[in-house]
Structure formats: C-alpha cells, structure tokens
C-alpha cells in the first residue's frame, strides 16, 4: 500500500543521501580543481594515458576510477567535470558501475560469507574487459 508516509520516507532518505554526498562531492571537486590549476592533472593524465587507451579512455579516466573508490558520486562528480566524448562517458560509466567503492563493498561481501578476494578480483577483470569490448563495439570516438 502506498501512503503519504511512503513518499515522506523516500524523500527523507534522499535528503540524507544528498547531505552525505556534500561531504564527498565538494572535496572531490576542490581537489580536482587544485590538480587542474597546478598542472598536476596533465602529468597524471599523461602517465595513465597509455594504459587507459586500451579501454578507449583518456588518462584522466584513471582519476575518475580512483575517486570512484571513495563513493560512486565522487567519481560521477569528477566525470561530470571532465571533457569526455559521449562514447568515453558511456565506457567510463560502465567500468565505474562494475568496479567502485571496492574496499567497503568487499568488506560487506566477506562478512556475508563469500570470498571477498575472488569477488573483488573478478570485478576488476570484468570492468576492464567490458571497457575493452565496449571500446571495440561502440561506434564513433
């Protein structure tokens, strides 16, 4: 049964999520801006560019991947700031969807009684392989 309480409960949860996101999104964006203006972003991007090119992404993708390990929304915030093409955004999103916040999620999984290392390892391989295949099959740049 849907009552007014359902809507209120959903709204409250959403506001809680948004408030907790502020803690992560603002520092992530600030850090990215510092990296960008200090010229470090270019250095990091160039360092990761050869590896990231296998999955069709520019070197900055490594940073999205890294920030996505804090919360998925930090990763999204960084992704939203960068100038990626539509294809690159789709690949990056898929890779991040499969492999994100792995330390926390693996802890939960291990506690539930499954093999955490196997789980995290498979997710990592799955993320890279899916990115690699998507890069081959999605048309455009």
């Amino acid at each position: 049964m849907i009552t007014w309480q359902t809507v209120v409960r959903g709204g409250n949860k959403a506001i809680k999520i948004v408030l907790s996101l502020l803690k992560f999104i603002i520092p992530s964006i600030f850090l990215m801006k510092v990296l960008e203006h200090s010229g470090l972003l270019v250095i990091i991007a160039n360092f990761f560019a050869p590896i990231m090119s296998y999955i069709g992404l520019p070197g900055e993708g490594a940073l999205v991947f890294l920030f996505g390990q804090v919360t998925i929304y930090s990763g999204i915030a960084v992704l939203a700031m960068l100038d990626f093409t539509a294809k690159q955004i789709t690949i990056m999103s898929t890779v991040l969807c499969i492999f994100h916040v792995v330390v926390l999620e693996t802890a939960v999984i291990t506690k539930s009684g499954a093999n955490g290392l196997l789980n995290a390892g498979t997710r990592f391989v799955a993320a890279l392989l899916t990115g690699f295949i998507l890069n081959l099959i999605i048309p455009g740049v």
């Binding site: 709204g11 203006h37 898929t94 969807c97 539930s112 499954a114 993320a127």
Partner: protein, 158 residues
C-alpha cells in the same frame, strides 16, 4: 596557481553537480519506496526462481538477488544473510550469488545517475548485466570442472 579561480570554479561545479544529482535522487528514492510498499520486489522474486535455478542456487535466494540487484550490496547482503540461516548455501553458491550482485547492483539508481551526466543508460545497463552473467557462469564452470577432477582423483588415492 590562481586560488580565487579554484574556489570560484569549485563552487560553480559543486552547485551544478549537486543540483543535478538531487533532482534525480529524490524522485528516484520515492519511486523505489513506492515499489517496495507495493510488494513489487517480492513479486519479481517469486517469478525469478527459474533464474536462480539457472545459477544452481536455491529458490529462496531469489529475493536476495532481486533486492541486491535493485537496491544495493548493503541491503542485498542483509537479506541474503537472513536467507542463509535457513537455506544453508554452500560456499560456492554464496560466491556465485555475490559475484552476480557484486558486478550488477543498485541498477536503477546507478544507471539513472550516470545517464544524467551523459552516458548511454541502455549500454551501461546491458553490458553490466552481460558481464555479471558471463563472469558468474565462468566461475560456475571452473568450480564444476574442479569438482569433477577432485572426485575422479579421490577413488585412486583410496
């Protein structure tokens, strides 16, 4: 480095990103709560016993799979731990279940939010589901092969 520009740009980017996410997350979570109160998750779960059988899992685990798929790992594992008290799944079955959920969870929320920043939601969703199915089956096949080999070796050692 121009600090004033860093702060101004941080402020602008933060406002637009948070606004974008807020506008998506609020209606989405209300929708999920509505679906929960309508008993929608249970309805899907009773219809997906066939899928769990495909993965060699007991029928009771369907609700855990569906909750994990639609909400997230934390809720999903809570439900699975409750199921586990009665279903007594083997370690391999637990790994199969969590491999699937690990790769593919929170699909509504995550797909929609990524669509908001410009991703093709259909591609993200389908390829993620495909990856989950492929890797879960790969693990199952490997474990079956290992089981067969160990059961063949055992009689010789006796």
């Amino acid at each position: 480095m121009d600090w004033s520009r860093v702060f101004v740009e941080t402020f602008n980017s933060s406002c637009s990103t948070i606004l974008r996410i807020t506008l998506i997350v609020i209606p989405l979570l209300i929708l999920i709560e509505c679906l929960k109160d309508m008993g929608w998750l249970e309805k899907i779960a009773t219809r997906s016993h066939g899928i769990t059988k495909l993965f060699g899992l007991p029928g009771e685990s369907a609700i855990g799979l569906i909750v994990g798929l639609f909400t997230g790992i934390v809720f999903g594992s809570g439900v699975i731990m409750q199921i586990q008290e009665e279903a007594k799944m083997t370690k391999t079955q637990m790994n199969v279940l969590f491999l699937f959920i690990g790769i593919c969870h929170g699909i509504i929320e995550e797909t929609v939010v990524f669509t908001a920043v410009g991703a093709n939601g259909f591609v993200v969703f389908t390829s993620r589901l495909a990856a989950a199915i492929v890797f879960t089956f790969a693990y199952m096949w490997i474990m079956r092969a290992v089981d067969r080999r160990t059961s063949k070796v055992e009689p010789k050692t006796r």
